[in-house]
């Protein structure tokens, strides 16, 4: 509570670059932000980034969970392997992906280059964006996988068997029975993933791209850091974090309100 209230207070001040004096300016910081093209762009970029992360990690983990749900032998190993990434710290995860994609020495970038595709995320904005999306999504797959798998295993087996007798192919069973029945889980994970992409990907971005090249991967949390601790605009930075705080509160309320809808078997 104390840091949060300090952030709110700070967001109403303008401070000089050396922190010697500060002036109370009411909402000027916020007005400035919303008039700033750069900030609006960052906002859009963040939305794009989190949508991509959520979509990628949700779809990959959904496929993995669907596969795990059908596995009969070796479930333990399969699940453990899939859960590992969650135990990796964001910075370490970011470092891993940097190594893999490092323009001159990375395994994947070398492979891509040999295939005739020029990879350099340090120069190309959209490649940088793709890389941070992949790295961020990868980290979240384990979490989503666990929830999806739990959701699928809560579906009574006889439902799937009934569908099999009702001449539904495995794919059809998945889309017409399993997927609709795990909607509450999907919805919950969607919110969690968006929140994750918004707020918890700082470490990955810091290690992989530092928001670059040319701000191509600068999302809102990164801009808070950049403006506040690099640009030393503490008031503006605080105002941004207040906006983020409002977003989190909003999403949390949204989730609590709608997540309670459960499917009954």
């Amino acid at each position: 509570m104390w840091p949060a209230s300090q952030a709110v207070y700070q967001s109403l001040l303008v401070e000089d670059a050396f922190g010697m004096s500060s002036q109370f300016v009411w909402l000027d910081n916020f007005i400035e932000l919303f008039e700033d093209d750069h900030y609006i762009k960052t906002f859009g970029r963040t939305l794009f980034f989190s949508a991509m992360v959520a979509m990628l990690s949700l779809s990959v983990s959904l496929v993995l969970a669907a596969m795990a749900d059908r596995v009969i032998r070796g479930t333990g190993i399969y699940r453990t392997l899939l859960i590992w990434p969650y135990a990796v710290a964001p910075v370490v995860a970011g470092a891993l992906w940097v190594f893999l994609f490092y323009p001159t020495t990375g395994i994947i970038s070398t492979f891509l280059t040999s295939m005739g595709y020029e990879w350099n995320h340090q120069l190309k904005g959209n490649q940088a964006m793709a890389l941070v999306v992949i790295a961020a999504a990868w980290k979240q797959i384990s979490y989503n996988f666990l929830f999806f798998l739990a959701g699928m295993q809560a579906i009574p087996k006889s439902l799937i068997e009934a569908a099999a007798i009702d001449a539904a192919s495995p794919a059809k069973r998945f889309w017409t029975i399993i997927f609709p029945l795990i909607t509450p889980t999907t919805f919950f994970l969607l919110v969690v993933n968006i929140v994750y992409a918004f707020f918890e990907t700082f470490g990955i971005i810091h290690v992989v791209t530092k928001g670059g090249p040319a701000n191509a991967t600068e999302i809102l949390v990164f801009k808070v850091y950049n403006d506040g601790f690099v640009g030393l605009d503490l008031g503006g930075s605080a105002a941004q974090s207040v906006i983020l705080m409002v977003l989190v509160i909003g999403m949390t309320i949204f989730q609590f309100k709608y997540i309670e809808r459960k499917v009954e078997y």
Binding site: E161, A164, I165, A167
Partner: protein
């Protein structure tokens, strides 16, 4: 049995046929031991046995939900061992109904037809027909959770009927209903099956359900078919002691007895029971069985029992008594005035004796 009988159902009346069917789980556990059985077209056959006897497993093997380790299963003349459940042209009603919770009653019933690519107006026609048959018309737009247990049960049956399958498979469909509804639904299912004339394989652990519904029943124990026959055959002439004890309620009384050397009398405790016909067995150790209802009170009765407890059901009385150390149950018409400690003299209907080898449990 000649090989030609396996081809085409036209010359072969058996509609579902199991030939040496076995189930062995990967851990080596043998759940089903070589079952042979023929079910005729339109027949209502009940698989009955205590829990864990493998009856559901056997049904699921016919449905295609479990692999068949050894043996063959034929449905309508086709060998179905390697066919998917959907290709076997069967419909199944599950114990928990397995209705799709996110679909309306209509969609639940239409789902299978839709997957088979049936035209929309045909689906509509059939679903409405079946809904009318099962009095579900008012409920077509409801979801399963808005229905009562009995209604869900009817929807589950509707979903099976609407497909017009060649066989119905029921897996303990009534066990989630309360007693009164169960008796009602028993009749509904039986009538419906007779009307549609669809071959039916029905699994239950409830012997009353089995007796009342079946044309023929199969008593299963530890994966072995103990006996296959009509309800009355099983009641009158159980082939094993297990079947004798399982069919009938209250259960048959068993007394361990010794057969005299000449095979003409049976002795247990102080009682000597002369036999109408000479009995021969390898050993003299015999299990003597008689049903609680095949007993009459008589002052000159051959057996005298110590009464333990009397249950008055109105139309009849169930008397729990003891003969020496063996517990004996009697089922007598009307109100029997007896209380704990009384001695009752009874005669057993001599035509209704059952004898089993004590060790093998097989009828003599």
């Amino acid at each position: 049995m000649s090989d030609s009988s396996t081809k085409g159902s036209s010359q072969n009346p058996s509609h579902i046929r199991l030939k040496g069917v076995e189930k062995i789980y990967p851990n080596g556990y043998k759940a089903i031991h070589g079952i042979d059985m023929e079910i005729e077209e339109g027949e209502f056959v009940v698989l009955v046995g205590p829990s864990g006897c493998g009856k559901s497993t056997l049904l699921r093997m016919v449905a295609g939900l479990e692999d068949i380790t050894h043996g063959e299963v034929y449905i309508a003349g086709r060998k179905v061992n390697d066919l998917e459940p959907s290709q076997r042209d069967i419909a199944m009603v599950f114990q928990n109904y397995a209705l799709y919770p996110h679909m309306t009653v209509y969609k639940n019933m239409a789902y299978g037809l839709k997957n088979l690519g049936t035209p929309k107006d045909e689906i509509d026609k059939r679903v409405n027909e079946v809904a009318k048959l099962l009095e579900l018309e008012e409920l077509l737009n409801r979801r399963p959770k808005q229905l009562s247990g009995g209604q869900r049960q009817r929807v589950a049956m509707g979903r099976a009927i609407v497909r017009k399958p060649t066989a119905f498979l029921f897996d303990e469909p009534l066990s989630n209903l309360d007693a009164k509804l169960r008796v009602q639904m028993r009749l509904v299912i039986k009538n419906l099956q007779a009307r549609l004339g669809t071959t039916t394989l029905y699994v239950t652990h409830d012997q009353v359900e089995a007796m009342t519904m079946a044309d023929r029943l199969i008593v299963l124990k530890d994966g072995i078919a103990e006996q296959i026959g009509t309800p009355m055959e099983l009641y009158d002439r159980p082939e094993t002691q297990f079947v004798a004890g399982f069919i009938g309620s209250p259960a048959m009384n068993f007394i361990e007895a010794d057969l005299s050397d000449d095979g003409n009398t049976l002795q247990f405790g102080d009682t000597k029971l002369p036999l109408k016909e000479k009995l021969s067995n390898q050993t003299s150790k015999i299990t003597f069985g008689f049903r609680p209802e095949h007993v009459t009170l008589s002052d000159s009765g051959a057996m005298s029992l110590q009464v333990n407890l009397v249950e008055h059901l109105g139309a009849e009385s169930i008397i729990h008594a003891k003969l020496g150390d063996s517990p004996i149950t009697l089922r007598l018409n009307g109100h029997i005035d007896a209380k704990n400690g009384d001695t009752l003299k009874v005669d057993i209907d001599a035509d209704r004796y059952h004898f089993f080898d004590k060790n093998a449990g097989i009828r003599i």
